[in-house]
Point group: C2
Chain length 385, copies 2
């Protein structure tokens, strides 16, 4: 298996991009990644997208985006694992380069979510849950994560304030990220006083509906110096796992088994566990998700995720910086793009390009992307090349 490096990244500011189409936001970031890497050709394209069919009425994304980029006839694939589609794109691109099939691979994630109304967006997002056994009974994602929060509160004594501290930290970090959709800082009181969505989760516990794309260039590590002027960042671990798609089928309602399995595989491949990680991006689609993710990743003991944000442990200057980008919470969550953006943030952290939100001396970093209520998860570990 060939070693694989990231040599270019591209992102624009995420948000409600009414004036732009899915094609527009894809092409913008793809060109930025190619420019950053300094490459003028690609051998292949992988696009992560959850549901362009339901959001914009367009499947066959490989063809339409290769065409829009002017890259046809390159091979172009679309991959999907709900909100972990971006992470899956990174993993698929990694395997394509590792196998020797292609040298320069453009890996992207994209989602255009605001071209449908709120009800249709809720329906589209619900297709990441078990349509027959969950959605037909009226559950939506805020409801699923609210049940997780309630179960965790019951088992470990999580308080409303501790939950809010996750949002406060991520908005604090996002305020230093010029690409974040919601860069405003928030207080514990504002989170607790915001409008109720699904008890106990309030609107400031939830990641937003977002339009956005993210792109990167992968190549074999031993060709990185020849292909790009940038210092390469190595992908040294890739783990992917599934769990029962329906939340009610899980053995333990307060543990994300797919995250734990994906992490175990990524740590094994990287040759080092959670103690080796200097910076982390996790899938905080809701505040409770960050708490459960850092426990499943082994970054804190079970039940200790509760106080990780309120104690400062996961702040940028803390022992285990989590979501320096602002996370899904503040940066936004265009579902198929999120997993790619997480890896981009960590690439920039490892290159030392993050300015006010830079994690000091970061040498090894971990990204955790998740589909649905934990039915799938993908974990990548990166290292300075």
């Amino acid at each position: 298996m060939r070693e694989v490096a990231i040599v270019g990244v591209g992102m624009t500011r995420w948000g409600e991009l009414w004036e732009k189409s899915l094609r527009d936001i894809y092409v913008e970031t793809a060109l930025l990644a190619m420019e950053d890497a300094g490459v003028d050709r690609i051998d292949s394209m992988i696009v992560g997208c959850m549901s362009s069919g339901l959001f914009v009425g367009q499947e066959h994304l490989g063809s339409v985006l290769a065409d829009s980029l002017g890259a046809a006839p390159v091979p172009a694939s679309r991959v999907e694992s709900a909100c972990a589609s971006g992470g899956l794109a990174v993993r698929t691109g990694f395997m394509e380069v590792a196998s020797g099939m292609s040298d320069i691979v453009l890996v992207s994630g994209v989602e255009k979510m605001t071209d449908v109304d709120g009800g249709d967006a809720t329906y589209a997002l619900g297709t990441a849950a078990d349509q027959e056994y969950e959605c037909y009974h009226g559950i939506t994602f805020p409801g699923l994560y609210a049940m997780m929060a309630r179960a965790y509160m019951h088992q470990y004594g999580l308080t409303r304030e501790e939950l809010a501290a996750v949002a406060v930290k991520n908005h604090e970090n996002g305020s230093k990220n010029p690409l974040a959709q919601f860069p405003m800082k928030v207080t514990i009181e504002q989170v607790i006083g915001s409008v109720m969505v699904a008890d106990p989760l309030r609107i400031l516990d939830c990641s937003p509906i977002t339009d956005g794309a993210a792109a990167m260039i992968l190549c074999p590590l031993d060709q990185a110096k020849k292909i790009s002027k940038n210092s390469p960042v190595k992908i040294i671990g890739s783990g992917h796992a599934t769990d029962s798609i329906a939340y009610h089928s899980r053995e333990d309602l307060t543990y994300l088994e797919a995250v734990a399995k994906a992490a175990e595989r990524a740590y094994k491949m990287a040759g080092g566990g959670p103690e080796t990680i200097d910076a982390v991006e996790v899938h905080d689609c809701f505040t409770i998700a960050e708490i459960l993710a850092i426990e499943a990743l082994g970054l804190v003991e079970r039940g200790k995720g509760r106080t990780a944000a309120s104690s400062g442990l996961t702040a940028i200057g803390g022992k285990i910086p989590v979501n320096p980008s602002g996370g899904l919470k503040s940066k936004g969550h265009p579902v198929g793009a999120t997993g790619v953006a997480q890896v981009i943030e960590l690439t920039k952290q490892l290159r030392g390009e993050c300015g006010d939100r830079q994690v000091k001396n970061a040498r090894r970093a971990l990204a955790q992307n998740m589909g649905g209520s934990g039915g799938s998860s993908i974990v990548h570990i990166l290292e300075v090349g």
Copy 2:
């Protein structure tokens, strides 16, 4: 790059499977493939599916199908390239095994198309074309392929009878395939007299709406004997290419450039051109598509595809047997499953298990899968292991 072998295949009869869900048809064929290979574990799953979001309101297929199969926590990915999603699944699984990431990979294709009404199915299929520049103006796939047929008739003098001969041949072959959706034989007169869909294409020129799945087991060639009792079939070439998604943007309206490029890549990898191929499955979503595909694959000269079926050249006993399975036309076309089923047919041909429709002495075979009106194409070349 490790060499890759197919060691197990599974399919059931395709059709309007009202009594079964997408999960049911997936699991049935996955278990058949595992049984055929004689394996009791898999390391990873790849699922090709075009639009489960629009057809059954379910994305996150990796998770839901790993769960249904009882295979979680294995990594499970869904890939999409419209009607070439099955071919893309084969290619993605091939790269996963070739890279060394996984040893035993379950590659499937699935589509459940009859749970929506005809109008919604037409809309869903239309998302494989350019939604903004084609579908908004009222075009559907029969219309796009009708334009191809008209352009080819104009340029090369194709007659209505020659076009009908493709359907006659494929239904003749399909009558020998117990898994075909429409195994009845048809005559030239019946095709020409069938109901008009989009001039000059009539209903018997069109592949049907189908529910179906198909599955296979891949592993490294050097472990094939240890893993399975079956004689391995090697994947020796894999080519993938894109073209402009919109038909009107193509330079040549009678040539499938993406098919030609994908074939060129696959032939190069296999170390031999069209003259080395003993049996072929092509993407005959409409009769005209088979004619254009065999020309782009270099199996016949440009303009000569016209008479390939009527002259007997592409019959099972002909010089270049094309679609011995009955093709999409007779076997059915559950869009995401088709590309996998093509490779399954050729695997069985190379194993000599095809009974009445067996191509004699087949040693090397080619499968060509296509997305949309030719916006993407994937070509695989197989050989007796």
